[in-house]
């Protein structure tokens, strides 16, 4: 289906201070488009988690928002380091977050499970040394 809107947000590795800005902008954009509160909440949670993952774990990446008539899609693409064991990474409570992230209250091992729980469709592809791509879509109810 036709993409009505596409926006890209660069996310810098280790930029804890500004983490959440892309998610806040995305939420605001979708709210203006009239997306329901329930869908908005699911997108917000998943979007913030994926944005934080880029800040905490990646070497930098991009968050892309696509809006279609029947769904919202979020794509997170980073330039590494890649996830060696996706199944393990998807396990609730498992985290490889560093001390800095943990001190801030992250690294509870809830990020990827939270994304999967909130998205209608969730896909993760990763290659060590290349990068990780997470694609999440959220159905818009008529």
């Amino acid at each position: 289906m036709a993409v009505l809107m596409e926006k890209k947000f660069p996310v810098e590795a280790g930029a804890y201070e500004t983490a959440g800005e892309a998610s806040t902008t995305i939420k605001r954009t979708l709210k203006q488009l009239g997306v329901s509160a329930e869908v908005l909440r699911h997108v917000s949670v998943a979007c913030y988690e994926v944005e934080l993952n880029l800040v905490i774990h990646s070497l930098g990446g991009t968050l892309t928002l696509q809006v279609e008539p029947d769904k919202v899609t979020l794509i997170s693409q980073d330039v590494g380091p890649g996830i060696p064991d996706i199944e393990k990474a998807m396990t609730e409570g498992y985290s490889t977050a560093n001390e800095e992230a943990r001190t801030l209250g992250f690294g509870a091992g809830m990020g990827l499970p939270n994304m999967k729980r909130n998205a209608t469709d969730f896909d993760i592809q990763s290659e060590v040394g290349v990068g990780t791509t997470i694609t999440m879509s959220f159905a818009l109810k008529a």
Binding site: Y16, E17, K27, S44, F106, G107, A108, N114
Partner: protein
């Protein structure tokens, strides 16, 4: 209960007087793990946390919470307060512990959050 009544109840200091005091508070919660709060937070929530950095406001704003309460007179960074004012999130500072605040709020009839699934 609204923010004004929450302030009266807890005796907390309003660090963001610009935010509306008429905002309805629907439930109470305390947790310092931000990802956990993202999974269990609710709109209208009064959230007690010892975390004082910027991401607290990002979480509160994304979840459309009513207020963030910092216990035990912990100081929130000015940059975080500024962010809270920008986002219209009310931040309260209290000398009481998180436990004491929860007890007061519960006694006044403010519910916790229902567990999902």
């Amino acid at each position: 209960m609204n923010i004004r009544e929450l302030i009266e109840l807890t005796g907390a200091k309003d660090m963001t007087p610009e935010a509306s005091r008429e905002t309805e508070v629907t439930c109470g919660y305390t947790c310092d793990l931000l990802s956990w709060v993202m999974a269990h937070g609710k709109a209208g929530m009064a959230w007690i946390t010892v975390q004082t950095h910027m991401n607290v406001i990002a979480v509160a704003s994304l979840m459309e919470m009513a207020a963030v309460i910092i216990p035990e007179d912990i100081e929130m960074e000015e940059a975080t307060l500024e962010k809270a004012r920008e986002e219209g999130i009310c931040v309260l500072q209290s000398g009481k512990t998180a436990y004491e605040l929860c007890a007061l709020m519960a006694e006044a009839g403010l519910p916790g959050t229902p567990r999902e699934g």
